[in-house]
């Protein structure tokens, strides 16, 4: 399968932040969630992907075009929206559609009309009268009607109230189901990513901690609750991402979980009470904490 995004050994250094040795591939037709806390490097990675900033080293290929040199050719087939993107507030959506259409000969006017109705947007109303949710939907309309092969969305749901967020996610999920598009979707909200993505990439402190299929990834993690008395040092040999003791109750969050590990836990004198699958958010927090502990 052809990769629509291929980042190879990307490094970018700023005064207080370094994007370090980023290797990322997105196969065609896949939806990838890029997850990280604020300041993890998601936006920097996406700006490099859009040819807006140049990496200090490494190569960037988007839809087979080397960036930043071929950024115009690549951007003709890429729909990009970011949380900090605003439309011209004194102009209406019709003006924006006419403007964007000028850059994209393949602009699909019928699809744009369909999205206008679906998103319940008034094309003659000035953008300044739109709610934040409507502005996000207007931005999505402007990029989806270009019929891009690749969508890059940088925190599109940030700042939305729960209702608007749910509406945007539902619409986005519908659209993504309908289309055979590749999508890179960044967020610090794991629920959004879990809802939309096929694969996930965890970014923390400028480094990729994990990047794989979301189902396989979640399946590798377990939260194990046990009771009894054991040596924390002995339990640490199991290399849990997280180990917490509360009286005689122990909780272990384990990456690369194997059923044989339960025997090892029992061998330490503990009784296994519960083995649970973990949510993406729990895994994300455990992964970040584990990485932070290793740094220190």
């Amino acid at each position: 399968m052809q990769n629509v995004i291929q980042l190879t050994d990307i490094n970018k250094h700023y005064g207080h932040f370094t994007l370090e040795n980023i290797n990322l591939t997105l196969p065609a037709g896949e939806i990838m969630g890029l997850v990280g806390v604020n300041g993890a490097g998601k936006s920097t990675t996406i700006r490099i992907l859009m040819g807006l900033i140049e990496a200090d080293s490494g190569t960037v290929d988007v839809l087979g075009h080397r960036l930043p040199d071929a950024q115009v050719t690549a951007k003709r087939q890429v729909g990009f929206a970011s949380e900090d993107m605003r439309l011209y507030k004194y102009q209406n959506l019709t003006w924006h559609m006419d403007f964007v259409q000028g850059f994209y000969p393949e602009w699909d006017a019928d699809y744009a009309q369909m999205l206008l109705q679906k998103f319940r947007l008034n094309p003659t109303q000035a953008i300044k009268g739109f709610s934040h949710g409507q502005r996000v939907k207007a931005s999505l309309l402007l990029l989806l009607a270009r019929r891009p092969r690749l969508l890059i969305l940088d925190e599109p749901t940030t700042g939305l109230d729960p209702v608007a967020r749910s509406e945007v996610l539902e619409e986005l999920a519908d659209i993504l189901r309908d289309e055979n598009r590749s999508v890179l979707f960044s967020s610090h909200n794991t629920h959004d990513v879990e809802q939309l993505s096929d694969s996930i990439t965890f970014l923390h402190d400028g480094r990729i901690l994990a990047s794989e299929d979301i189902e396989c990834f979640v399946n590798k993690w377990r939260s194990v609750r046990c009771t009894g008395h054991a040596s924390p040092t002995a339990l640490a040999e199991l290399k849990p991402a997280h180990l917490r003791q509360n009286g005689s109750v122990w909780q272990l969050k384990i990456d690369n979980f194997q059923p044989s590990m339960l025997e090892a836990i029992k061998a330490q004198g503990l009784e296994v009470v519960e083995v649970m699958r973990m949510s993406l958010e729990e895994i994300f927090i455990a992964t970040v904490k584990k990485d932070t502990r290793h740094e220190h």
Partner: protein, 225 residues
């Protein structure tokens, strides 16, 4: 990376559409200034001069603020950068759209003023002085535009703007007190003396040099940020 002039044209048209009311406003205020200038009273003459100077200064600085600085502050730049546009096209479009807005107001005022001086009671000998001041404003505008294009910083642009505005009064005073200029203020003889030729040549060269430098620097950029 070659420049696609169709893209540049689309970006220029966008800025013109967004700011056409502003241009119309400055032209309308310019008409008011010209009307006062042509009225045969000393106070209306001075009022007209002040209005015309203000319009020329404000048109330039407003254009820079609205098209470059406000675009960044209002976060509409990411929207433009998401389109198939390269840094060179963006910089060129910004420079041309800006100069188009400024020179529409400036040329309207200067041409009307020349016509007014030549056809009314205003002494024709004032024309070189008027033109020198108008060209100083062009030079100031080009310097601020270059700073704004290169830095996209509100702070640096305002600093340069204030600095150059502070120079305007001394320039007017120096020219008005120079016999090569003032000896013809009350006559109908237009004298294109050496000081005028030298000063406008220097100002035009400076304006052209800073704009060329800014454009070369910006159009060589491979990325926007």
């Amino acid at each position: 990376m070659s420049i696609d002039f169709r893209t540049v044209k689309q970006l220029i048209i966008k800025d013109w559409q967004l700011h056409r009311n502003m241009i119309a406003g400055y032209v309308a205020t310019g008409i008011l200034g010209l009307a006062l200038l042509g009225y045969p009273h000393l106070w209306t003459f001075y009022m007209g001069c002040i209005i015309l100077l203000t319009v020329m200064i404000a048109a330039g600085f407003h254009a820079i603020t609205a098209t470059i600085i406000a675009e960044k502050k209002d976060q509409t730049t990411p929207f433009i950068l998401s389109l198939p546009v390269q840094p060179a096209e963006y910089a060129l479009a910004k420079a041309v759209a800006n100069m188009g807005i400024f020179f529409t107001a400036w040329l309207f005022i200067v041409i009307s003023m020349v016509f007014l001086v030549m056809t009314t009671h205003i002494p024709n000998g004032l024309l070189p002085f008027f033109l020198a001041i108008c060209l100083f404003l062009v030079m100031s505008y080009c310097i601020v535009l270059s700073v704004a294009l290169m830095t996209e910083s509100e702070g640096w642009s305002i600093f340069t703007m204030v600095l150059l505005n502070l120079l305007l009064n001394p320039v007017i005073m120096l020219a008005a007190n120079n016999p090569l200029y003032y000896s013809h203020f009350k006559t109908d003889t237009i004298v294109w003396h050496s000081l005028f030729i030298t000063s406008i040549t220097l100002m035009l060269v400076a304006a052209l040099a800073v704009i060329t430098f800014a454009l070369i620097r910006q159009t060589r950029r491979r990325t926007f940020i």
